[in-house]
Amino acid sequence: MIRLLSIIGFLTCLAVGMILASKIPVEGTTYPDSTVPFAVVVATSIVFLILWRKSEQSSDYSAEQGSLNSNQVKHILKTSINTLETIHQKGIDNATLTRLETISLDIAKIIDSRISIQKDLGLESVSMLFCDLAYSERSINRGVSMLLDGYENKNEISELIRKAALQLKYTCEGMNSN
């Protein structure tokens, strides 16, 4: 309830601030005569903003239904690593493309759970996680492009998949160290 009220209060103050800021100054002045009331509503909006930020930190409101926590993220990463290593060991076949696309969808779930993971790990660690994850995603995307383009050098695709698995391991290690 505090969160909702603080958001409503914040947005209302800013809307009033916008109205007051819109007034055109009279000839010969730089600022309109509504500047003082503007400053007052802006100061009030800051109070509501502080309340909003505090309620955000102490609640689970921002985490959407179905969002993953950091343990579930680790589980997805480990499963993806296993799948990639299996592909690398067994070689490229007709099912490889589907498997890679499944991994991409799993990683997308991690990306969608950003807010809840951020609550667990903090902004800097989540940013590092996403940076590291992006390296693996790029390799996987490249593998998908190669397969869709009908690239014939299967060893190179396999090697790329091994690299993606290594990058995911590196991401996992980074998460564990946090």
Binding site: M18, I24, F38, V42, M128, A134, S145, L148
Partner: protein, 570 residues
């Protein structure tokens, strides 16, 4: 690991990109002078690349085509920045007796091209890897590049979207559906004399615009909210308070109140956004540094390249300013540093706005640039316009490069290679368009006046800038709106919703008809996701929306050429 034989940066891709880029640049510069709007070339380049690299050479790959479209759109986009600003210099010359030497403008355009690419090096990690911004046009180009090989169903949806959008654009552009006062200029006025004009009851009927909203989804809602707050709360309040005449409220509220406030909010929101996301920026920089040490993930351009690029651009910007009229060495150094710092911020704002909404607030950034430089250089119009050319080219490049890098990410291309090729050839675009505009001006009677009001090339965008510069030189600057808007944007920037300051500012700055159509797209995406699920959105809605974007772009280009040819041709 042995050398990869998977084609990426090849002579064919680079040459095709350069040739397409120059052709598109010249064509779109002419079209922009004629019609008043410019067109992105990524989609055309990607389709041509697909046809030539895969169809003719029979060995093209997706990421090779991405290199081709990166180069082509980079060269083409430089022209957009130039055509928005440089023609105003010629038009000013007849009003203000300015001597024009095109060399400083060529140098400025080249400096802008380099800087736009340089500032993207750290922003790429931040916006694509960490913030995961959507970049709708980047997604659309990926869909084109993959359309031939990612299954018939996606290609079919892309094709359906293309046909619907192209047909719709054709109907609108041919004025067959026009009803005076209700449906004109591709906009639907649903006020019907019942809803007052100051509530802006107008919907832009662009399917491309709605499709950008479809791709952005709930991430685009703050943008819509900014526009809705401006026109459904602020505007009627202003009228109720009797601060404007209700009869002519809409244009005054937009041009004198909401637009400058929106520009201020954009800048304030962007500055605080940088401060608030500092931990993420730190992580991005750490990741770039670690990438160099970590053998499994070394695909980044180093900070050294960025340093060299900034040094080169500083030098070029200084050279461009110094080679113009009446500027001292001290002013040159000052303007070079201020120009580069402002440019970094403008690139950040534009890249973020494009990433979230697909819309680039280039005119607002040009306006602020001219204001800053005229303030520093005591209303020196010549140098202000030189710096404005550099900034417009740079921010156009930044936005385009980010879209291309998003495509590269989704295809698995190397960002370092993409940035290096763009770095290597993009300067060509600025120079080509400066020379083209100079020739067109000289083609007028008596060697001047080849474009502008009363000619076959009215140059509407430059006309707007001309009006602004003339207003600024008489001291007509809405400083209060920029400052108060900046405070609103800054406070929004502290809210726990990423990028809300920039988005709300952009919503206030743009005509509401655009924001409304975009918001409709966002709401539709949310509805589809709720009813049909995420899988449907990812595999059905994305290719369909991409088709809508491409269809309108291609038909828009075709129609522009038809209009040019039917009114006297080239």
């Amino acid at each position: 690991m042995e050398q990869s034989h998977y084609r990426e940066v090849t002579v064919a891709a680079v040459l095709l990109g350069i040739v397409q880029g120059i052709i598109l640049n010249l064509a779109f510069v002419y079209a922009a002078l004629k019609l008043g709007f410019s067109i992105g070339g990524s989609t055309v380049a990607a389709i041509m690349g697909y046809a030539l690299l895969k169809g003719v050479l029979k060995k093209g790959t997706s990421i090779e085509n991405n290199i081709n479209q990166t180069i082509a759109s980079g060269i083409n986009t430089a022209g957009t920045g130039v055509v928005f600003t440089f023609p105003a210099v010629f038009m000013l010359s007849s009003h203000m007796n300015l001597d024009i030497d095109i060399i400083p403008y060529m140098i400025a355009a080249a400096a802008g091209s380099v800087l736009g690419v340089v500032f993207i090096i750290p922003l790429r990690k931040q916006m694509i890897d960490i913030d995961r911004l959507r970049f709708p046009s980047g997604v659309a180009v990926t869909t084109i590049i993959r359309s031939g090989s990612s299954g018939f169903s996606k290609a079919k949806l892309l094709g359906i979207g293309f046909i619907i959008s192209a047909a719709w654009k054709l109907l609108l552009a041919s004025h067959l559906l026009d009803i005076p006062g209700v449906l004109e200029h591709e906009e639907f006025n649903f006020g019907f004399s019942i809803i007052p004009d100051y509530l802006y009851p107008v919907l832009y009927l662009s399917l491309m615009n709605i499709a950008a909203g479809l791709l952005a989804g709930k991430g685009g809602i703050p943008f819509f909210m900014g526009g809705a707050a401006a026109w459904w709360i602020v505007s009627p309040s202003i009228v109720a308070l009797d601060w404007v005449n209700a009869e002519q409220a809409q244009p005054v509220i937009y041009s004198s109140m909401l637009r400058p406030l929106g520009i201020g909010a954009l800048i304030g929101g962007a500055i605080i956004g940088v401060i608030m996301t500092f931990p993420a920026i730190k992580a991005a920089i750490t990741s770039v540094i670690q990438a160099g040490k970590n053998k499994v993930s070394s695909d980044e351009l180093s900070g050294k390249v960025m340093g060299i690029g900034i040094g080169l651009a500083l030098l070029l910007l200084g050279l461009a300013a110094y080679s113009s009229q009446s500027v001292s060495i001290g002013q040159t150094i000052l303007i070079s540093f201020v120009g580069v710092i402002w440019l970094a911020l403008a690139a950040l704002i534009v890249a973020q706005a494009t990433g979230m909404t697909d819309i680039s607030p280039m005119s607002g950034m040009a306006l602020i640039t001219v204001t800053i430089v005229m303030f520093i250089l005591d209303k020196n119009v010549s140098v202000s316009m030189i710096i404005a050319v550099a900034v417009c080219v740079a921010i156009g490049q930044a936005a385009d490069m980010m879209q291309d890098l998003k495509t590269g990410f989704m295809l698995g291309g190397s960002p370092a290679k993409q940035q290096m090729v763009q770095f290597g050839v993009t300067w060509l675009g600025g120079i080509v368009s400066v020379v083209a505009i100079y020739i067109l001006w000289k083609a007028g009677p008596g060697g001047t006046g080849g474009f502008g009001e009363g000619t076959s090339l009215p140059a509407p965008q430059a006309g707007v800038l001309l009006g602004i510069v003339e207003g600024l030189s008489t001291g007509n600057i809405p400083i209060d709106k920029y400052v108060l808007g900046g405070i609103i944007g800054a406070i929004l920037g502290f809210a726990p919703v990423s990028g809300i300051g920039v988005m709300v500012g952009l919503g206030m700055y743009l005509p509401f008809s655009i924001t409304l159509a975009y918001g409709l797209g966002c709401l539709l995406q949310i509805l589809f996701e709720k009813i049909k699920g995420k899988h449907f959105c990812a595999h059905k809605l994305v290719p369909f929306a991409a088709g809508l974007i491409i269809g309108e772009a291609i038909m828009g280009i075709g129609f522009a050429f038809y209009q040019i040819l039917s009114s006297g041709g080239f």
